[in-house]
Amino acid sequence: MTRGLIFDIQHFSLHDGPGIRTTVFLKGCSLNCAWCHNPESIAIKNSLMFEENRCIGCRACETVCGNNVHFFTDDGRHKVDFSRCSGCGECQKVCFAGALKMIASSYDTENIVSLVLRDRGLYEKSGGGVTFSGGEPLLQAEFVSEAAQMLKEQEIHVAIDTALNVPRENIDLVMPYADLFLCDLKAVSEDIFRKYIGNSNERIMENLRYVASKKNVFIRTPVVKGVNDSMSELTKIRDVIDGLGENVKEVGLLSYHDLGVNKALKVGMEEHRFEIQGSGDFTEKLELFKDRGYRLLFDGSEVR
């Protein structure tokens, strides 16, 4: 039985594939997008998260921590030195208020499958299923593959929400059991990739073509002002999608939101805040993608 590191399980998820779904979020990512909305998921190793507003100042964490991660200012405010944290999780055990939490928990495939099967009735009635997301779920491809296989044996629809920056063999492990890939297509230009995502685009593009040649694909593009929102970049994205063929069933543009900025602080990171755009800013951009044989969505709503 393989174990996976999971940082969230979201029931009644309506925007990660068709129907009513449960989304399983796996920890660890091989990209480092500047606008990441789940910054706590990036590190592959499990680590601590601190929600200051839940802290009741009991100072139990201070006594159990061997690394002096937790300290209290003169006015009683709890501060966390994330750089000293070894991720042992002792403080979480004594924090009844839930201010300190290890971001992820380890599950074996049987656990996770039985948890998500709880809502089987809703999947069946709504044409939904289970989505593995992240982080980058394909970094834990063995776990995902095994869980997806178990779900397929139960005839549950499986979707993989991936940025595809993984070795081809990871994709192949999951491929037989996935009904649908939700693929990020964040940008096409290599300079954007290098500057904001910290990586090359080459492997991703190859993998995208590969996946789209084999399975149904939904493309998801976060649109961030000053990064990839120019008409020229969006046109490039559109053209790449056009080249992927008929398996692209849906394309969704997502407006940037800044929830990641605060989440980053809770795990001792800093994230740049980009400008939030109103839906009016998207009218022209959406025109680019209309009537091209796939369903077009903007922030989860169908655009006609």
């Binding site: 029931h11 009644f12 309506l14 129907g19 009844f96 709880r118 009735g121 809703l122 989860g300």
Partner: protein
């Protein structure tokens, strides 16, 4: 020419009439004073009310409407019920003469339980959630009912009480016949004098109806519809109690509709216009701009089955849903009964209604609701045609149900086991002797639990006795003879509905906060008896002290002890056990009408009213909300729709004939939720064998804007707890509570 529903003119005309409500009825009340005789029976004294209304109360005829129905008896515009103190108007005239009982009820004992947040209620019997059995008029007309009474009066062995009952019932029917005749004559006169051709046509159509119904049995769809509308409204005007339930429209009118469509005397479009005009009555009558605690109560039942269990789904069902979708009325509530045998089209229509965000929909699971009535000993044929309203109170057409008139804090009645000394004194202060076991001294949880159930049942029995005592005098304050005449059994039994004339006579306390009870008992089980995290002494001290200086323990109880609704087999089984045992402790006590108290978890807004009750062992502080309906607690985190549905598994709601509501709040953000999602929720709800579900689709951002700028958002209707209201008319407190529900 057919009737056309002109919504603007219709609402304008209703506004002109109802903005004058309540009209002055001093003259009629003075007349009543002169004939009221304390030495006569209450039947005879009530009969005088009918007589005055029959002869004198002004008729309000709406030229824009296809029906006649409104008799102005001086009742308030926004009124569902008579309560304490009695409301203005002739309907409550007798009650106003007999306030001694209500004064005694509200006198010394009740305030003690109100102050301590154990009981919330101002009446000792249900005065709001009734249903007037329109089918009897459909069968025989008022003439037939009159004859039934006359025949009964001929029997030789009647005693004086029975004679007074029957002769008064006859007066009630004659008074309504008199009202109908006056409608007929007035309509004729108005029609002849009306210059506007379309209004004249409406008056002519109404006059045509008045020539035959309700005196005779209806023959056509339009006549049957007239009887359907008229009966409920005249009962509201006459009786001084509220008839929340408009009726089971598609079942009752379905055959008339089919017949008229087949013989070509009606078209589908004409029928839709009539349905729309009927649906508009409540919104047009009420001043929805006022804050309406409890809402309008008006409830319309659709779907379900006939007496023999055959599913009802016809054009009328669809027309009701389409009418609500088209006009986005706030009322009436649509009480959709569902069976697994209903066609897919019905589920699709209901999904559309749920998705629309009108928030007028409750979904009833027939298998469970009917099953619960049968388990309680009611006949299947009767249970098959159950109705529901004000909020979701269940009633059968031949049942005098007394539900939702008093709310009891279940969590409070379990806390008494932690502090029996204190609570013995409280009961004593109210004049009640209670023997409470010292549960907290017990060595094992099983012993604690047994004692706690015993203490709970002891308190309930005290309340049962209290309420029975007052109910035994209910008939003195307000017998309802016309309502009785419409029942299948009252005339034959020669008993008023208030004294047990109906076939079924159920009672129930609305028990609030079952989720808090489950969580609190489980917290004691785990934290004290199993994990020994805290001693009973320390727990009692912390709870008794509202967890002051004990935040660590409180956080432990909140976050480390599994809660109802979570994915944990142990709490799931425990919840199922608590539900079963609570039901047993609530059931089976006889009431004074020959019926029994039934278990109910119907709790309306009492989770808020009781919020200042003492702290509870689940980590809830005084001031925090109790749990809503049958929902799990949201103190330690929000609950999504799938988890909410999953929390219903393994709980046997057929133990609760009085029902329990699952509040399904669906927050929507930018993206619209598809119809299919709502359909899936409805189907899953049925599969989980839950009782009734109340939909509330809420857009957080819009609500926040509506709170800030109410004048710009006057069309948002939200579901409070079994009733809908315009968001901008709610108190700030209630607006905040609704907004908080969107954080899921």
């Amino acid at each position: 020419m057919a009737y056309t529903f002109d919504i603007e003119r219709y609402f304008r005309e209703f506004e002109e009439v109802f903005s004058e409500y309540p009209t002055n009825v001093d003259k009629e009340l003075r007349e009543y004073d002169s004939v009221y005789d304390p030495d006569k029976t209450p039947y005879e004294n009530k009969a005088e009310v009918y007589r005055i209304i029959g002869e004198e109360s002004p008729l309000r005829i709406f030229r824009t409407a296809p029906f006649f129905f409104e008799v102005d008896t001086g009742r308030a515009r926004n009124s569902v019920t008579s309560t304490w103190p009695p409301e203005p108007g002739l309907g409550d005239a007798l009650m106003s003469k007999n306030t001694f009982l209500l004064e005694r009820f509200n006198g010394t004992w009740l305030p003690v339980y109100t102050r301590t947040n154990i009981i919330n209620g101002v009446m000792f019997s249900d005065v709001a959630h009734h249903y007037a059995n329109v089918e009897k008029i459909m069968k025989t007309g008022l003439k037939g009912i009159r004859k039934e009474i006359e025949d009964e009066m001929e029997s030789e062995d009647l005693d004086s009480r029975e004679k007074a009952f029957l002769s008064s019932a006859l007066i009630s029917v004659d008074s309504v016949i008199r009202v109908a005749e006056r409608f007929r004559d007035t309509l004729k006169e108005m029609m002849e004098n009306e210059e506007d051709p379309s209004l004249r046509e409406n008056l002519r159509l109404q006059y045509e109806l008045a020539v035959n119904v309700p005196v005779n049995a209806p023959k056509t769809f339009r006549e049957a519809f007239e009887v359907f509308v008229f009966t409920r409204e005249i009962c509201n005007a006459l009786e001084g109690v509220g008839f929340a339930v408009l009726g089971h429209i598609d079942r009752v009118l379905g055959d008339f509709y089919r017949q008229d469509i087949e013989n070509g005397t009606l078209t589908k479009d004409e029928a839709q216009e009539l349905v729309d005009a009927f649906l508009a009555i409540t919104d047009a009558r009420w001043d929805l701009e006022q804050e309406l605690p409890g809402g309008t109560n008006a409830s319309l039942v659709i779907g379900g089955t006939d007496r023999y269990g055959k599913p009802v789904f016809n054009d009328i069902t669809t027309m009701v849903i389409d009418g609500m979708l088209k006009h986005r009325f706030v009322n009436p509530k649509i009480q959709a009964r569902i069976t697994a045998s209903h066609p897919e089209e019905y589920f699709n229509k209901l999904s559309e209604l749920a998705q629309s965000g009108i928030n007028c929909l409750s979904v009833f699971n027939d298998r469970v609701v009917v099953g619960a009535q049968i388990k309680e000993g009611k006949d299947r044929e009767d249970a098959n045609v159950y109705l529901a309203g004000g909020c979701q109170e269940i009633t059968l057409p031949n049942e005098y149900n007394s539900r939702a008139y008093v709310y009891v804090n279940t969590a409070g009645l379990f806390n008494i086991s932690l502090f029996p000394e204190k609570w013995t004194e409280v009961f004593q202060e109210a004049g009640d002797r209670i023997y409470l076991k010292e549960a907290y001294k017990k060595k094992t949880f099983e012993e604690y639990y047994r004692d706690a159930i015993y203490n709970f049942a002891s308190a309930i029995q005290i309340f049962v006795n209290r309420f029975n005592d007052f109910n035994s005098e209910l008939t003195d304050t307000n017998p309802c003879l016309f309502y009785s005449a419409l029942s299948d059994t009252c005339i034959e039994r020669k008993m008023d509905v208030t004294e047990g004339g109906m076939k079924y006579n159920s009672d129930s306390f609305g028990m609030c906060a079952i989720g808090t009870v489950v969580d609190s008992l489980f917290a004691i089980k785990k934290a004290v008896y199993e994990d020994r995290f805290v001693t009973m002494k320390d727990l009692r001290e912390a709870v008794g002290n509202d967890f002051k200086d004990n935040e660590v323990l409180r956080q432990y109880l909140l976050n480390r002890i599994p809660k109802m609704g979570q994915d944990n087999e142990e709490i799931r089984e425990f919840a199922s056990r608590v539900f079963r045992d609570v039901s047993r402790a609530l059931s089976g006590y006889p009431n004074v009408r020959g019926g029994y108290f039934e278990a109910s978890l119907f709790s309306f807004y009492s989770y808020e009213w009781f919020r200042n009750f003492d702290a509870t062992p689940d980590g809830r502080r005084s001031g925090d909300l109790l749990t809503r309906g049958i929902n799990p607690s949201e103190l330690s985190g929000s609950i999504d729709a799938a988890t909410l549905l999953s929390s219903q598994k393994n709980i046997d709601y057929t133990d609760y004939p009085g029902g329990g509501v699952l509040y399904m709040d669906i927050p929507v953000a930018k993206a619209k939720i598809s119809k299919e999602v709502f359909g899936s929720i409805i189907k899953d709800f049925i599969e989980k064998e839950a009782f009734v579900m109340d939909f509330n689709v809420l857009d957080r951002e819009t609500l926040l804007k509506a709170k800030a700028e109410p004048q710009k958002y006057t069309n948002i209707s939200v579901r409070i707890c079994g009733y809908s209201a315009l968001f901008h008319t709610l108190s700030e407190n209630m607006q905040d509570e609704i907004i908080a529900r969107t954080q899921r």
